[in-house]
Symmetry: C2
Subunit: 426 residues, 2 copies
Amino acid sequence: MREQVFILKGNIIFSKSRTELEIHEDSYLVCQGGKVKGIYRTLPFRLGGYPITDYGESLIIPGLVDLHIHAPQYSYRGLGMDMELLEWLETNTFPEEARFSDLEYAASSYRIFVENLKKSATTRACVFATVHRPATLLLMDMLEKTGLCTMVGKVNMDRNCPDYIREGTEESASETVEWVKDALGRAYKNTRPILTPRFTPSCTDELMEKLKGIQKEYDLPLQSHLSENPSEIAWVKELCPWAEYYGQAYDRFGLFGGECPTVMAHCVYSGEEEIRRMKENQVFIAHCPESNMNVSSGIAPVRRFLDEGLHVGLGSDVAGGSSENMFSAMAHAIQSSKLRWRLQDDSLKALTVEEAFYMATKGGGEFFGRAGSFEPGYEFDAVVLDDSRLKHPQPLDVKSRLERMIYFSDDREIRAKYVRGKRIEL
Amino acid sequence: MREQVFILKGNIIFSKSRTELEIHEDSYLVCQGGKVKGIYRTLPFRLGGYPITDYGESLIIPGLVDLHIHAPQYSYRGLGMDMELLEWLETNTFPEEARFSDLEYAASSYRIFVENLKKSATTRACVFATVHRPATLLLMDMLEKTGLCTMVGKVNMDRNCPDYIREGTEESASETVEWVKDALGRAYKNTRPILTPRFTPSCTDELMEKLKGIQKEYDLPLQSHLSENPSEIAWVKELCPWAEYYGQAYDRFGLFGGECPTVMAHCVYSGEEEIRRMKENQVFIAHCPESNMNVSSGIAPVRRFLDEGLHVGLGSDVAGGSSENMFSAMAHAIQSSKLRWRLQDDSLKALTVEEAFYMATKGGGEFFGRAGSFEPGYEFDAVVLDDSRLKHPQPLDVKSRLERMIYFSDDREIRAKYVRGKRIEL
């Protein structure tokens, strides 16, 4: 083995399947060349001599994946939550995002976001920036420095938003090309550009067409919003009377999965046809349960998505969600699925701890390729959790300790974090 | 002024009404003899010379009130959340509560609970213990030492629970009398016994009658559970066929408000008659939104309770709820009210920040008399919050800073805490 090898020791947990955990107590997790080599209860002779970090009683889990977060909104997380989606965009989002034309302000805001994301259990994220090319590149530079693995998008908006933040159609396309070229030119190791039309109401058909051209030319993944809120959906119907369902408003332009990896946030109200098409086109769903509560959207039928075999991960959706903490996102996913079962449709059973953990790791991780698991060959993203702050008088097994983490851990529990085999400085 | 006077300086916030905050920036909050004397922008001449603690930019709010928490369940908070109420009681609650017959175990468990409650923003709480008299007294001793102001109940259960935790009817009554006498004999300053029949399914009619006698003799408040979960309610109907609604199963024995202060947890499914009677009898409602999600109960119609002028406070309901953090309880109350509006009944508007804050302070505080406000004459319970950990690039007004606290503060923000004019050692 010429490639770099190192070994972590602790209580190792990852998803064996959507519904089952695989737990290796007091075992060795081996990284070779940035990938998972294997898990061993007793270290094989041939692995002797490589550096071992013994994390004792700590839990070692795959890094968490946030499939949907808005970096510029981090500054007002937890604020103005007494509004629904469209009012909230107008009142909070657009004025704040407009400030990112000022690079100095962008730096001061993104510094806080990046620092806190680094300290969290998140190792990978799909990130919305703003319409501004320089600030988006700045954010990418900053994220690259952390060692986290991210896809970051300059937002496109050429209609239905205030003048001060609206792009011309040509301008939006050409700025996107410039941004993509610039980003690719910087030869980041862990940071990739992702096409980011905000959502159908803010992008003209013409712009969508141009984005498809750019996507083809540069082979880019895409992120956007889908079927989040009843008023938004009604609006899309008005804007695209030809679309039988919201997803078609992307699909018509070839921006709904298929060749290019695509992730759509929310899908609270996706119906039969939309679900069928997402499945066919391997569209990833970013389920954002806290945001869906905070802006009064509703609760997505996640059990259905999982049963149908769709790709589902979790998103914090800051600032629709208040926190970048993906453990909270897991708890909110479980909690809201229970309310959905009770209040809306008792044919869809509530989500379990195992399922929430799956979505936050491998479910979302697959959007990045082989990430979110400790199966051999997966990229080595690991988070080491020291739960000793959370005292208990009785003995607890490893699964119970993981469950507690979901309900109340925060950055104080993060003892170490690795992305693609590199340790992140916390 | 012969009584002790001291003064805190900071950004003072409390509820002016159910729907409005009163905010005094950079002002003086004066405590005299354990009570609020007044708030001043400029300190009057006659208050010169008294000690001032300047908390600078910090927020100063009334101490938070937790109207419903189970101390022995703290050890398994965040665990076994994949069950509904009755299964969860059988699987988690009863086996764990049984261990409190062992005083040593009780001490090791309650130590953790008491320490964390002390470090939280909670200054007052209504606490369930277990059926065990010695462990309940131990808990009261421990809580008294913290300086927090609590009502604590030895639980009564003489039916429908496993042998190992079930009391005989006579035994339950006589142990209760012994416990009350012992507790009163200890002459606590801040700790009061509160009658605690667990809920109708676990108390026979005969025991309820005896408890009424004890309540009269010792003039005791009462806490219990009401209309939490559909299966529980159906069970109460079977057990008490004479009751037209669940509340009557308490009311028939005189244990549903009126003369003696009474707080009922949950009230998720309270109908017309139950609501009318709670109003008439001044029964307090402990709304426990996180618990109601976690054990799949549903969402209480809190907007309706508030509109009708009922007394409503918040409860963490650990371990149905995962955390003692009453800021989280406020966030959960707002979030679940939005889902209720969206999924169940759009005639009841979602709760606002102001309303959640009111419930967590004055709404619940009134169960303790004049607590939960900074109006003159209220008992001086105050929490000082340093929110500087939660960085932001833009200026934020005081109300926004409070709103952020609701969504993501934890014990790290608690800079100081006062109960009845005494500073608590954190």
